[in-house]
């Protein structure tokens, strides 16, 4: 009978903040400050459209495609995926959100959207409300769950129950923000066609 060598899969080493990504974030943030200071249409539109497009696409993809797939995977597979995926999200999402919102605000000031009176102004107010709700969900629920999962997975003996509970929270909130991004798409395309 042939000997079969069975080795337990090694747990991935988890780096909570991917250090190699920090210089890229620094360049993006420096570019954002320069863009706002220049107060010129093209750089502001570039930052807002690129940042917003990536943020919306990522949220939709994560909430409506990856999330449901992840929810059906066994806890061990979810852990393996999260260990590699979540540290990257920890850098990507805040960077995209900051570049989209800061450049978007400045762009709205530059083109005079903020000066528009009601009832048209309701479209702007609706965008503030959608972003506000998404910010509370993302910063208040999704991100703490993300970080707590990473720390739990770094323990010598991670608690599977805690990871499953936090991952559920992550998947549901990602789904909600994904759906709210549909509202963002409607509002933003409406604003850009004024």
């Amino acid at each position: 009978m042939a000997d079969v060598l069975v080795t337990a899969p090694s747990r991935p080493k988890i780096q909570i903040v991917p250090v190699r990504g920090l210089p890229i974030v620094a360049v993006v943030v420096a570019g954002l400050v320069a863009t706002i200071a220049s107060n010129k249409l093209w750089p502001l539109e570039f930052y807002h459209v690129v940042g917003g497009g990536l943020w919306t696409a990522l949220d939709l993809f994560l909430g409506l495609v990856i999330g449901p797939i992840l929810a059906k995977m066994p806890v061990a597979a979810r852990t393996e995926f999260s260990a590699r995926f979540m540290p990257k999200m920890l850098l990507i999402m805040p960077t995209l959100v900051t570049m989209t919102l800061a450049s978007g605000w400045q762009l709205a000031r530059l083109v005079g959207n903020l000066e528009v009176g009601y009832p048209k102004h309701w479209w702007l107010t609706a965008s503030f409300i959608v972003v506000g709700v998404m910010a509370v969900i993302a910063i208040g629920i999704l991100e703490p769950a993300n970080i707590a999962v990473l720390f739990e997975m770094r323990k010598p003996a991670p608690d599977g129950e805690v990871i499953a509970k936090l991952m559920r929270r992550f998947i549901y909130t990602a789904g909600i923000t994904g759906l709210m991004q549909v509202a963002t798409l409607v509002i933003m395309t409406r604003l850009s066609s004024w």
């Binding site: 400045q106 903020l114 509370v136 208040g140 629920i141």
Partner: protein, 139 residues
């Protein structure tokens, strides 16, 4: 086994929501002047909630304080960059006087609230005691 702890996270999220509502109220009124009494009221309630959170935290025994402060410290550093950009935008856009003061104080409440929330969210699942070597944020 997860311990029963006071609702620190829920209170922190509520405080955050009040600050966000303040921001939406201000932005929705533009180009008209900011409704300062409403903003001050929201800011005051949010500040009281954050203070209540700090009191609840200080009463905790057997809590992973080193890990709490480790996460809170790095969160504060990361969010300081965002607050800096926001403050820069306010000043660049000639926001002055009491509106600038209220907006800055809102950022200050946020600067305490978010690190507190993140630190608590991680430390609540950790074993009380000194931060372990494997809990470093970067390698």
């Amino acid at each position: 086994m997860v311990r029963k702890l006071p609702p620190v996270a829920q209170i922190a999220v509520l405080a955050m929501a009040l600050i966000v509502i303040g921001g939406i109220t201000l932005a929705s009124r533009l180009p008209h002047p900011a409704p300062l009494p409403v903003l001050i009221a929201l800011l005051a309630v949010a500040a009281v909630l954050v203070l209540a959170d700090i009191v609840l935290l200080t009463r905790l025994r057997d809590f992973a304080w080193p890990l709490f402060f480790q996460v809170a410290k790095w969160t504060l550093l990361a969010y300081a960059v965002m607050y800096g950009i926001l403050e820069f935008t306010f000043v660049y856009d000639h926001v002055t006087g009491s509106t600038l003061v209220v907006l800055t104080l809102m950022l200050v409440v946020f600067a305490v609230d978010i690190p507190l929330l993140f630190g608590f969210s991680v430390a609540r699942y950790a074993t009380p005691g000194p931060a372990k070597a494997d809990s470093k944020l970067t390698t």
